[in-house]
Symmetry: C2
Subunit: 387 residues, 2 copies
C-alpha cells in the first residue's frame, strides 16, 4: 500500500555566518537550488514541508510555512512548518515522505532553515534551551552543553570513555568538513586542539560543541512514477522512523543512551529490510562529541560503551566500512538547527549519487539520524540506490 | 485509495485566563478528555500532531511534540508539532487526517494549545506579530488589529460595509458563547456595546477583536474500521484543503478577500461532494469582526460584499440555515491561537453528535475555516454524520 519515494533533487546554502542574508534569503537559495537540481518547475510541486526550530525567538518570525511558499513563489500550495527542536528538518523530511508514500502527492519539497546569528549569543543559547524542558531544566539554568555534559560524565563513569575519545569525534568531523566546500569550519583539527580548547561545560570543551550557524537545505521528493520519468539518479528513501522520549533528562530510564534513537534506528533498519553492514554512509547527530559516541552505540554500529574506543581506533573514518558524517557533521559542517536534518539527507543523497567530490565514499545504502533536544525526539531515515 | 477517517473523541479545557495552569496542564487536560471520550487507551494511539503558534516566545518552550507525548504519557510515539500561526490547530488536524487517510496509522490524536497570559500583553502582541511578515509588516509597527483594520477600511469603501454590521458579528458570537460553558466570555452583548467600546485600530474597537486566551483542545481520529468498532457516533471528516498566499498584505491581489480561503473552501466542498446548502454548522475564523464578514463571502455563503448585510439580517444566527460559530467563535469563545483550529473541529463534532447542549442546532454536515495570520495560510475541513 505504501508507495516508493525518491529524492530527485538537493540544494543547500553554505553553512556559516551569513551577515548579509536573511532567513528568507537562505530559504530562497536552498529551495531554488533543489528545484533546479531536480530539473522540475514550480508547477510540478504539490506541497511543501519546512523545518525550523526557533525563528520566532531568533527572527521574530513564525508562520514559516507561509514564508517559504511566498519566498519560493509557490503560492497557493499548502506549505507547512514542522518544529521538533534540532530534529525539525528530519521530521519535515518524514512528513513529506509519508505524504507521497500515502498517495496524497507526487512531488513535495522538504526543507529546513535557521538564521541564528541575528541575536546575541546568549539569546541564541536561551532559544536553544527551548528544546529542553523549560519548566524542569532551562528555568534552572541548564543550557544544552550542560545537559550533554551530564551524559558525558555518566558515560565516562560507566564505560571508561575518555575526553580524548570524545575529541576524536570532532577530529573525524573536521577532517571531513575540510573536504566539503559548504562546511562552516572546513579545516582539520587535532585531538590536542580539542583538549586545549576552552572549557564550556566540563568535560565538554569548545571543540566538542557544535556551533551557531546560519543555513538552509532542501530536497525534492517524488513518487516512483515521477522520479523514474524525471531523474537519472534518484535516491530512494528506504524507510523512515520517528520516536519520542521524556522531555527532561531526569525522567529517562538512563542517560548513557537515548532510547528514542535505539527504537527509531531499529525500526528504520527493519522497515527497510537492511542490516548494519549494508550501511556505508551514516550521518549522526553529533551536536556534542559525546552525542556522536552515544549515537553509534544506540544505532547498533558498536556495542554499548564501545563508541569512544571505536572512534579512537578510526572505525568511522572516511572510507572505512561505515563512514560517519562525511558532511562534517553538526560539529564542523555547522548546525543551523532546522536545516540539519535536511542537510543530512542532502549529504547521503550526494554520496549515493557519486556527487560528493573529495569526500566521496563507496556506498550502496545510507542512514541519517536526527535528534531533537537531548533525545526527546529522534528521526531516522535509510536511503538506497535501488528502489 | 484514500481511506475514510472519523473523529471518535473530543476534549477541551475551558478557554480563558488560566493563571493556575501551565501549557503542560492545559495539554494534559484536553488530551485526557479526548482519549477518555473516545473510550480508548493510550496503547491504541499510534501518533500525535499538535498545533502551537508561539510557545517559544510565550513560554520559552519549543519542542512541543515531545512535550505533548511526555505530558500524556505516550512515549515513545512519534509526536509532531505543527506551526501555521493561527491556523496551527487546523493544519495539525489536517496532518493527522492525511496520515490515517494515507494508510500510515489507524488512530492519531490531533491537538492544539496556547498559553498566552504568562507574558505582558505587549509581549503577546509582539509574538502574534510573528504571524505577519516580520520584515515588511511587524518591523514597521503593524500589529494584527492594524492589519485587519486595513481590510475593514477597504471593505467599507468598496462595499459600503458599516461598523454596525461588523458589530453584529461580535453580537452573534457572544450570543452563542453565552450558551457554551467552556467559552471565555459567556454573556451576550449588543451592537451598542460594541460601538461604545474603546477604539483599538480604527474602525476596529475592543469588542471587534478576539482576546488573548489560554486553552487547549484535542480530537481522536481513527480509520473507518477502528471507528466503526469503537465508536457509536463517529463524525466523519469528509474533506480537507489547505492553501497559502503571500505573507504580507501588500503583495496580495486585493485585501477585501482572502484568496487562500476562496481556494481552500472551494476545494473542501468539491472533495466532499457537498454544496453550500448542505452545510448547517460553520465555524469561521473571526479573529476580528471584519474577518467573519470576509470569511462568509470567501467561502461562498454570501455574494461578495454582502457579508455585513447578511450578519445584520440575522442570516447566520443560531438555528438559521447555516449557524455560524455556535461555539462563540474566536471573539467570544476565545482564541488560544494553536488550539482554535482544533476547537472548531470539536464544536462541529459535538453539533453533529447532538451533544452541543443549549446551543444545539439541527445539522447533517459542518465546516471549519481556520486562518493563519492575515490569510497566508488557510485550512478548511468538512464533516458529516455519514461515512
Amino acid at each position: 500500500m505504501v508507495r516508493n519515494v525518491a529524492i530527485i533533487g538537493t540544494g543547500m546554502t553554505k553553512f556559516g555566518e551569513h551577515w548579509e542574508k536573511s532567513l528568507r534569503d537562505l530559504i530562497a537559495e536552498a529551495g531554488a537550488k533543489a528545484v533546479d537540481d531536480a530539473g522540475i518547475s514550480g508547477k510540478d510541486i504539490q506541497a511543501i514541508y519546512g523545518g525550523t526550530m526557533s525563528a520566532g525567538r531568533l527572527n521574530g518570525q513564525e508562520h514559516i510555512g507561509a514564508l517559504i511558499a511566498d519566498t519560493l513563489g509557490l503560492n497557493p500550495l499548502p506549505s507547512t512548518r514542522i518544529e521538533a527542536a534540532c530534529a525539525s528538518g528530519g521530521v519535515a523530511l518524514r512528513e513529506a515522505y509519508l505524504m507521497i508514500a500515502g498517495g496524497h502527492y507526487d512531488v513535495v519539497v522538504a526543507g529546513g532553515a535557521e538564521k541564528m546569528t541575528d541575536v546575541y549569543t546568549e539569546q541564541a543559547s536561551l532559544a536553544l534551551g527551548g528544546a529542553a524542558d523549560q519548566e524542569w531544566e532551562a528555568f534552572f539554568g541548564a543550557t544544552f552543553p550542560a545537559l550533554y555534559a551530564l551524559l558525558a560524565r555518566r558515560h565516562m563513569y560507566e564505560y571508561g570513555t575518555t575526553e580524548e575519545q570524545m575529541a576524536r569525534v570532532s577530529v573525524v568531523n573536521h577532517h571531513n568538513a575540510a573536504l566539503n566546500p559548504l562546511a562552516q569550519y572546513p579545516y582539520p583539527i587535532t585531538v590536542d586542539d580539542v583538549m586545549k580548547s576552552a572549557p564550556i561545560a566540563e568535560p565538554l570543551k569548545l571543540l566538542d560543541c557544535s556551533p551557531l550557524t546560519d543555513g538552509a537545505a532542501a530536497v525534492v521528493l517524488a513518487s516512483e512514477d515521477f522520479a523514474k520519468k524525471m531523474c537519472q539518479e534518484p535516491v530512494w528513501i528506504k524507510s523512515s522512523a520517528q520516536a519520542s522520549d521524556t522531555l527532561p533528562l531526569h525522567d529517562r530510564r538512563l542517560v548513557t543512551a537515548i532510547d528514542a534513537s535505539v527504537l527509531a534506528g531499529k525500526q528504520a533498519l527493519e522497515r527497510a529490510k537492511l542490516k548494519h553492514k549494508d550501511i556505508s554512509v551514516l550521518e549522526v547527530h553529533d551536536c556534542f562529541s559525546i552525542a556522536g559516541i552515544i549515537a553509534v552505540e544506540d544505532l547498533g554500529f558498536t556495542r554499548k560503551g564501545e563508541g569512544g574506543k571505536a572512534f579512537e581506533e578510526g572505525v568511522f573514518d572516511l572510507g572505512s566500512d561505515v563512514s560517519i558524517n562525511t558532511s562534517g557533521g553538526l560539529k564542523a559542517c555547522g548546525h543551523p538547527v532546522g536545516a540539519t536534518g535536511i542537510k543530512q539527507a542532502v549529504e547521503v543523497t550526494l554520496q549515493l549519487q557519486g556527487k560528493a567530490g573529495k569526500r566521496q565514499v563507496d556506498a550502496e545504502y545510507g542512514m541519517t539520524h536526527n535528534v531533537g533536544g537531548s533525545g526527546a525526539t529522534v528521526v531516522v531515515h535509510t536511503y538506497g540506490r535501488d528502489v
